[in-house]
Structures are given as C-alpha cells and as structure tokens.
C-alpha cells in the first residue's frame, strides 16, 4: 500500500532529510515562475523604444550601449522590480492573513491596513506638506497604526480570526471617512497630489522603492516560510494547534506582524494596490490545490499579477500612463463579487 498522504516522498539514506513534495504544487509554482520571467522579458523589451532580448540582457549586465542602459536600468527595471516585489509582498501578506483567519476576506486591503496606510500618507501630503519619501513613511506608519488598533480592539485573551476581520472592516471604514475628510480640507494642489497617491501605481518608481520592498521581502519571506508549518497547524483551531505543540499566541503575533509589515512597506512604495493581496492566494490555491497556506506560490502569483497588470496597462493605454492600481481595483471589484456569490451559494455565510 502506498503512503496514506498526498505528494511525493523524498528521503535521503539515513533519513537526515525527509520531505513531502506535492508534484502539482511544484509544477504550478514552476509554471508561475516561467510566466513571470516571460512577462518580465516582454516588459523590458517593449515600450516607446523597442529593444531586443540580447540588447536587454547586455544592458542588464552593464555591456549595453548608453541609451539601452538608461532605458533598462533607470526607466524600466526599477518599475518592473517594484511591481514584482510589491505584488509578492501583498500576496504573501494576504496569504498569511487568510490562513490565520480561515477566511478569504482576511486580506490587508479589506481589513483596513491599506486604508490606514492611506490615512498616514494623506496626513503627510495635506497636513505636513511632505514629499514622496515622507509620504511613504507616513503610509508605513499609518498601516502599522491601523493594524495595532485592530489588534488591540480585537484582543480578548488572544486574537481570534473572525473577530480580527470584523474589527478590521470597521477600522477600514473609519479610515476611509477620515481620508475623505482630509481630501475635502486640502488645497487644490494637495488634493491632486493626494488623489494621485490614492490610486496605487508603480509609474516612475526608482531604485529606492526597489531596495525598500526588496529588502523587506528578503528578511520577511524566510520568516514567513519558516513559520508556514506552524501556520498550517493554526488552521486547525487554537486548541488543536496548542495540543500539537504550537505556541499559538506567539506564532500568531509573529505571523500578523510579518503580514502587517509586508503590506505597509508595499503600500508605502506603490500606494494602495487593491485586489492582489485578496486574490493572489486564492488564485494560487486554485492552481496548486493544496490545503495549506501555500505561501511561496502565492508570492509568485502576486508578483505575476502585478507585473502582468502593469504590462497590460502600458500596452493597452500607451499614451495615458494609466496607473496599475486602477486596473487591479477594477478587476478586484469583479473578483470580490464573484467570491462572495460563490461563498454564498456554498452556504459558508448564512
């Protein structure tokens, strides 16, 4: 009789290493990675100036001519990498929160981190009159403040998933109304700047954004992957997770903090990008069909969604510089309708 579990078993002699690998999940992740590379190559080669793949590759390693190096190294690559890292960070943030709360609505843009970050950014733009860097710090602080407020309000001898989401939706609505109020108080110039920030975009993002989000990912992705097994046990409920030897409150605090930091940094870099954190983990799950958190595949899916979305707006609206946030927001609304309708039909919400 074969193993009673799914996946393929890999064991070294002496079993110093023994792992289960889900073939389908691995294949799906590889497919996502290939699609991602393809999107990245197309993004780097197309645009107002067409470049060939060899020209792009030469520019990447510093062997290209000056024009190509400027286009790739200063214009296209930072924007592309910002989209990639922001997408991955948001998706990872969403995957963690959805697994923790056991609810597909448990996503940073639904439960108020994003609107809280926007409040922070608007305060800087309108009240303090800060520039782009200060705005990013304002957004970061706003996201953290919203998360802390949700955590404190939802805390009752521990934090439980569904309460976290409900309190989060309340905070989100509160932050949204504060944001509207701030915009009405602004001068025309500030209101335009605020509005531009409120539609998330990767236009004109430079290496400082790449470094900020990439660096955050480099630190927090390993943290999240290291906690993934504990996360998969937390999915079974607090009592079962404790019984199996998981320090529930500490693990949950680490995971929530990871999720909040990822969302806050991503929003600080690109402004509010809707839909990616909400949908990427679900779409990735649809491909991999794993029951666990699926963090790596979600991150790949998030990176792919945002890079492909940004490529699409560049190809479809080459002259208007449409922000990618508009596209994801539009798709996100449709996706949310579909998700709620599907859940309703399944009888999950009664």
């Amino acid at each position: 009789m074969s193993a009673p579990v799914t996946g393929r078993v890999l064991r070294t002699r002496g079993e110093g290493l023994s792992l289960r690998v889900d073939g389908r999940a691995l294949g799906a992740s590889l497919g996502l990675a290939v699609a991602l590379v393809a999107v990245m190559l197309v993004t780097l080669t197309t645009g107002e100036y067409e470049l060939s793949v060899p020209e792009v590759l030469a520019a990447l390693v510093g062997q290209g001519d000056g024009g190509a190096e400027f286009i790739v190294g200063t214009l296209r690559l930072p924007r592309l990498l910002t989209a990639l890292f922001v997408g991955a960070a948001l998706a990872l943030s969403g995957a963690i929160l959805q697994s923790l709360s056991g609810n597909p609505l448990g996503s940073p843009d639904v439960i108020g981190f994003t609107n809280g970050a926007a409040t922070g950014a608007l305060l800087v733009i309108i009240v303090l009159g800060g520039g782009m860097t200060q705005t990013a710090f304002g957004a970061f602080a706003g996201g953290l403040a919203a998360a802390l407020l949700i955590y404190l309000l939802a805390f009752k001898g521990g934090v439980q998933g569904f309460r976290f989401i409900l309190v989060g939706i309340g905070i989100s609505a509160l932050a949204l109304s504060v944001n509207s109020y701030l915009v009405t108080r602004a001068s025309l110039h500030d209101a335009v700047a605020a509005h531009a920030w409120l539609i998330g975009s990767v236009n004109g993002r430079g290496w400082e954004q790449v470094a900020a989000v990439g660096g955050t990912l480099a630190v927090l992705l390993p943290v999240a992957l290291g906690a993934a097994r504990r996360l998969s046990l937390l999915q079974l409920g607090d009592a079962t997770a404790t019984a199996l030897g998981v320090g529930v409150q500490r693990s949950r605090l680490v995971l929530i903090a990871t999720s909040v930091l990822l969302a806050a940094v991503a929003t600080a870099a690109a402004g509010p990008i809707w839909f990616v954190a909400l949908a990427a983990p679900q779409l990735a799950r649809g491909l991999t069909r794993v029951a666990g958190p699926g963090l790596a595949s979600s991150a790949l899916m998030g990176g792919l969604l945002l890079t492909a979305g940004d490529l699409a707006v560049q190809l479809l609206f080459p002259t208007s510089q449409l922000p990618v946030g508009t596209a994801t927001g539009c798709l996100g609304g449709l996706y949310l309708c579909w998700l709620l309708a599907a859940q309703w039909r399944k009888g999950s919400y009664t």
Binding site: V5, V9, S18, Q235, A239, A243, L244, G245, V246
Partner: protein
Amino acid sequence: MAEGKLHVTRLYAENLTLAYDERTVATELGVAIPDDSFTVIVGPNACGKSTLLKALARMLKPRGGAVYLDGKGIGEYRTREVARRLGLLPQTSVAPSGITVGDLVARGRYPHQRMLRQWSRADEAVVTEAMRLTGVLELSGRLVDELSGGQRQRVWLAMVLAQQTSILLLDEPTTFLDIAHQVEVLDLCADLHEHKGHTLVAVLHDLNQACRYATHLIVMRPGGQIAAQGRPGEIVTADLVREVFGLPCRVIDDPETGTPLIVPASRRSSPKATVVAGIERSGA
C-alpha cells in the same frame, strides 16, 4: 487530597482555581488521573468539567494551584514536549477546506518532526497504524469536507493517535453524533485503553455511557467540586445522582454489562397516567 500524595500518578492537579475573566469556575480542586485508567468526568452543565479538562491539557492557565505531568508542573515544559506526552481532542477543530484525510492525520506528527525531517518512515508507519486502528485507512485519499460526522470524528481521533502520546484527553468526543456513532467512538476508546495501553480521560454528557465505559469516574457538582470518584459500580447511587444533578431516579444494573444504569423517575407515578398521557399526545 491525602491519597493523591501517597500515590502519585503521571497526571494530577493540586489546589486548582480555575476562572474565565471574572467568573470563577472551581476553587481548591484536586484530582489525580489513575495511570492506565479510562477516566470519565461527568457532571451537570456548567459544573466546570470541560474547564478541568482544559486545565489538565494546559489550554487554560489555572488562577491558582498547578497541574503536574510526569512529576513536573505542566507549565514548565515546552509546549512541544507536552505534545509528545499528552494528546487532546478538543470539542471543536477546523479542517482546512480541501485537505485529504491522510494529510490531516499526518499533521498529528508535528511534535515529532523537524524542519528537514518532515516525513520519515517512522512517521508514515505511525500514521498508517493510527488510521488502521480508527478504520479510516481506506478513506485516506478522500476530502475531509465530504465525510459524515462519525467518520470525521474518527479522523480527528486518528490525528491525535498519530501524535503517539500515552495519555489522551477527549473533550466530549461524542457530541453531534447519533447514538450508533457515539457507541462506535466509545468502543474505539475502550479498545485503545484495553489493548493499546493508553490512559484516557474523557468528558462525557451521558451518565449511562460514562458508567459503562469508565474504569474511574469523576463526578463533579455545580461549583467545580468533586462529589465522588472511583469505580462507577462503587460510587454511583440514586442518592448521588439526586444530589449532583437534582434528578430523582433509580439505579439498576445495566443488563448488558452489569454497570450502573440510571433510570430517571417518571413524574407521573402510576402506569395508568402514562397511558393517558400517551393517548393525549397521539390525539394532539
């Protein structure tokens, strides 16, 4: 309790004060789980029986007193170390949607696994055996979402068995099951106790089932005190049931097992009145 100190068991509690926020459930509670017993805790609603079980499983930190496992305060262990000695089937668990039976049972191996050692041959053998014992091996590829309540409870039990602990705590393992599945789960527990050497502690609602399966019965009264403990045949009397549950009854021998069987007294004393009531009900 003086006896508790004379004969120290693997799992016992002393001077427990248990409380949720402001509400105190029990004070000065002392209890010892006899080694190799099938201990059942019974008592009226809200008497603190599930709370006691939670404290024994270190799910609830006592306000006062302590629970001891293998001679050391249970709070002094790392939670993973406790998980290698003591398993718990809580009242409610959540199966993530889309998980297969085998994968869920395999998660019970967590306290024995390490980062790079996630699925050894020993893990596989233990999981297979746990599923065989609970009769869910042939369901291994099925989705947990698609199972019936009885099957699902056996899957959870398999997961706890895969944890390979000699002490198992079960919080109302028969709730939500119909009577046939209740008996099936309790028979399985009795087998684990008799043939596999597990020490079992279960909270049950049904006094008759408790009397039938328990080798050691702990009867709690409202206010979180122990009214009686010992072999069911020696402690369960009509007086005890009336005192603890406020229920007038007769206690007879279970015709199947000879254990005490509680028959609640009818409110209508004469057989004639019962017949009349029956006619009234069918006429209504």
